[in-house]
């Protein structure tokens, strides 16, 4: 196994549990690949790690690998792959030859970087670099940050920058719309970060390091609109333009590597069949982000399992029947997770006007990163009125995720049919205001609203993942979905619990007429 990330580890576990002898080589000092810098709760279904934070998934996988007797070599970069499945591995100061019956290349992806004037100045980095610095090493990547790219990676990193205490000056996208999930964008937008769509970066300026970014508008054909240049004061520019598979080891082994639009855009991938086997028999390749599903790591895990099952069957460790069943299950999950309006077949090609259910698409969410208040009426779960506390679900795109349904002990929330369907509220069931749906929605798009318990006021409960955690009785400002101040707000309670896994549920009192507007709390005098 080359690479101890999600694909490599899950394949290793699968193969080892089938009785095969497995060695995993990874160039990093720690296992887990990029999982350990993923601190958000994953989308998906419950049996596919939904609601679990990436680093925890990594820990779980490692524990399973250890239990299965997988041998993991760290600080062990594979130097080359040769004929007859031979590899040369650097281990300390030696070059060690190993041979395997099979090789799985799970070497991951690299960030795509798009050149612009000044992109080589210190202070311009990949978004993943910032993630590594802050989430693995606890170091601030910068103070005032501009994020270029609003795909899911960018949006996830955007929130993490805020959590780390950086100022996020803006999120840019050359496309006329936010690329990633609306719910990810909304988390950032409500803290007051502007989304600048149809905007590109022209130049990074500064004396020896980034001091300013020059941005400008483009039209729908990505042509520059003259005279729209603007300067932003930033010390860090992060690029989150995409990921592309690392193919050089596969290429070194003689596997066919080609440009393909399998991912929805042209990228260079290692050619594989449905079992992840490359054009060189016995060499497999998986988990390199070619599948743009809800969570790259989740599909990597599934691909690892498919490859390992196929190998185990070929080598006689499991029956064809067993292998077929395992692979079919993984493939069905992959299919579900890659469905919806963000699926490969839809991405970048169609601009849907309505959801699978026939609701109109929120244009504001696509263009500005938050739902406009007047659009809410289009979505039943976001706009109904009810007595007492009840969940309001502002999840309005078809994304593959359903833990809200599983979290509600009262069965208030439904996700019918495909996992990509938009959640609904069963108004015949009575919400008790436990807040587990609020805390565990990976999109942080569920709020509890109570318009009837306090005269003239409403209680609004929001998910909250920032420090310092506000306290009961604290005064502050209620912000709307765009982060604009709306009214005074008073913290009524701040709930945390192990079941909420570090997402606090903050309940604030706001004037009744702002109940449908306020979606974030800013403490008085303090930073958000």
């Amino acid at each position: 196994m080359i690479g101890a990330g999600p694909a490599g580890l899950s394949a290793a576990v699968e193969a080892a549990e089938a009785g095969m002898r497995v060695a995993v080589f990874d160039e990093n000092a720690g296992p887990g690949g990029q999982l350990f810098k993923q601190i958000h709760k994953f989308f998906g279904s419950r049996d596919q790690n939904a609601m679990i934070r990436g680093f925890q998934i990594g820990r779980n996988l490692l524990a399973r690998a250890e239990a299965a007797g997988v041998e993991v070599f760290l600080n062990a970069p594979v130097m080359g792959i040769y004929k007859n499945h031979e590899v040369l591995v650097k281990i300390e100061d030696e070059s060690v030859h190993f041979k395997g019956d099979n090789i799985i290349i799970a070497a991951g992806a690299a960030e795509v970087m798009v050149p612009f004037c000044g992109w080589d100045l210190p202070g311009v980095m990949g978004a993943g670099a910032a993630q590594t610095l802050m989430n693995r090493h606890g170091v601030l990547p910068g103070r005032k940050v501009l994020l270029v790219g609003s795909g899911n990676v960018g949006l996830i990193v955007g929130l993490q920058l805020l959590q780390a205490g950086c100022e996020l000056v803006a999120v840019l996208d050359a496309a006329p719309r936010v690329g990633g999930y609306g719910v990810h964008a909304a988390k950032i937008a409500r803290t007051g970060v502007p989304f600048l769509t149809s905007t590109t970066i022209l130049e990074a300026k500064g004396d020896g390091k980034v001091e300013k970014a020059v941005i400008r508008k483009v039209d729908s054909r990505f042509q520059v609109i003259p005279g729209t240049e603007r300067e932003l004061d930033v010390d860090t520019i992060l690029m989150a333009v995409g990921l592309s598979p690392m193919t050089q080891l596969a290429s070194c082994a003689g596997c066919d590597v080609e440009y393909s639009d399998q991912t929805g855009r042209l990228s260079c991938i290692t050619v594989t069949d449905e079992f992840c086997e490359t054009t060189v028999a016995g060499i497999y390749c998986c988990g390199d982000f070619r599948m743009e599903t809800a969570e790259g790591a989740s599909s990597a895990i599934l691909q690892g399992q498919i490859a390992a099952s196929h190998i185990a069957e070929q080598a006689g460790y499991i029956t064809g029947e067993e292998c077929g069943a395992r692979i079919a299950k993984c493939q069905e999950t992959l299919r579900q997770m890659s469905g919806g309006m963000f699926s490969v077949k839809n991405k970048g090609r169609v601009d849907p006007t309505e959801t699978d259910e026939g609701y109109p698409i929120s244009r504001s969410l696509l263009e500005r990163g938050y739902i406009a208040e007047e659009e809410l009426q289009n979505y039943p779960a976001a706009s109904y009125e009810a007595e007492g506390v009840h969940p309001v679900i502002e999840c309005v795109q078809n994304i593959p995720c359903n833990p809200c349904r599983d979290m509600c002990a009262r069965k208030c929330i439904l996700v019918n049919g495909d996992i990509t369907n938009i959640p609904l509220v069963d108004q015949t069931k009575k919400c008790v205001g436990c807040g587990l749906c609020v805390a565990n929605c990976p999109g942080q798009s569920i709020f509890l609203i109570d318009k009837t318990s306090i005269p003239d006021y409403a209680a609004v409960s929001i998910p909250y993942e920032f420090l310092p955690l506000p306290e009961e009785g604290q005064k502050g400002t209620g912000l709307d979905r765009s982060g604009a101040p709306v009214c005074d707000a008073l913290v009524m309670s701040v709930k945390t619990s192990p079941a909420m896994d570090k997402t606090a549920v903050l309940t604030m009192k706001v004037p009744l007429k702002y109940a449908d507007s306020v979606r974030f709390f800013k403490a008085e005098g303090g930073a958000e």
Binding site: P77, E94, S95, H97, A110, D120, Q248, L249, A253
Partner: protein, 114 residues
Amino acid sequence: MSKIIRTAAKEPFKPEPDDDLIICRCEEVTKGEIRRAVHGGFRTTNEVKRWLRCGMGLCQGQTCQRNFQNIIAKEAGISVKDLGMISGRSPARPVMIDVFANEVIDAEKDPEGK
């Protein structure tokens, strides 16, 4: 790689305003140099790489390959799919000569390394 008929460019080279943009960070190769190479007759990823060294530095093209391919493709009026790729070669990461020299072949027979 598909058939390419190559003859000298008929038009003179036309400079563009962002020709001094760095494309290959390791070897500091600019967009203009790449465009000029294509104008001079180089038509594949490897030819441009060998002529200019883009993709030949420490990172071996991991950051810039796609970017310089886009420029070649645009300049030559062909798809990046038809340019070929930089072949992956050992070592996948820079490795010191004395580590390369220090081979252990029988790790399997002597797993303790004694």
